[in-house]
């Protein structure tokens, strides 16, 4: 992982813990192409079992803040944000989210 991504993870973890709650355990970020074939950042916020089920309102606000903070640092790639809930089999999120690079077909972007 690059130093920049590590910095983003730290920034996002601090922000999400503050805005969503202490139930945000960790944050993982990856650089990938998005649905429009644009370079983007994919943040996974790993929540623990104490996270409430309905966090939509706070999530949206926290996501905007994250985007604004990154833009203020000159980062213009869109930050996609996903909550990851506890898995009963303890399978790490990174292994499950193992899409090939750029696998989101461009042809699908307009539908």
């Amino acid at each position: 992982m690059t130093k920049t991504l590590a910095t983003y993870e730290t920034l996002a973890l601090k922000l999400l813990k503050k805005e969503l709650g202490q139930f945000v355990e960790s944050v993982h970020v990856e650089e990938k192409l998005d649905h429009a074939d644009d370079p983007a950042l994919f943040f996974d916020a790993n929540l623990d079992e104490t996270a409430p089920s309905d966090i939509g309102k706070k999530f949206i606000y926290a996501h905007l803040l994250l985007r604004n903070r990154l833009e203020a640092k000159g980062e213009m790639r869109f930050p996609y944000l996903t909550t990851r809930r506890p898995r009963s089999d303890n399978k790490p999120t990174e292994q499950i989210l193992n899409y090939p690079e750029g696998s989101v077909a461009k042809r699908s972007a307009n539908h």
């Binding site: 998005d34 649905h35 939509g56 949206i60 869109f78 996903t82 989101v104 699908s108 307009n110």
Partner: protein
Amino acid sequence: MIDSLLALAAELSVKVNANEADLRRATSTAYYAAFHALCEMLADQMIPLKKSPLDVRLSRLYVRVYRSVKHEHIWKRDLFQNSDATKTVQTSLDNLRQKRIEADYIPLTFPYLSTEVNDFISEARETVANIRALNEADRLSLTVNMLIGPEKPETGQKKNTK
């Protein structure tokens, strides 16, 4: 329709033993609920009298405006730069759209749990609420940007050659 889509998405995701197809449909439906809320806002702004069943012409115009919103609009940031409220809407719509593409087009194992799909639905529900709560200036700005295009940056005054 929008609230029914949200309800359907929730129903699919909380089904006992919801399978992958249920979770994919729930994710896609959640995005579409939010997308339709944007289409509806735009059409309501342009053709506020659409509810008159007698006026076929107005109904046709309403549908034309409604259908003028394209999915590509969602990731064009300059269309949503009017305020924090519109930027919030774009951020959520783009986030939901990414999940919807994964749900509808990526044939690998769907990587989200039903609890995570519930989070997408919760996000979609709030996005619909945020679109419906946009003030008049934001509604107008979005409508004009989507129908005509974003305002071009000023290039300065023309030189006086006299």
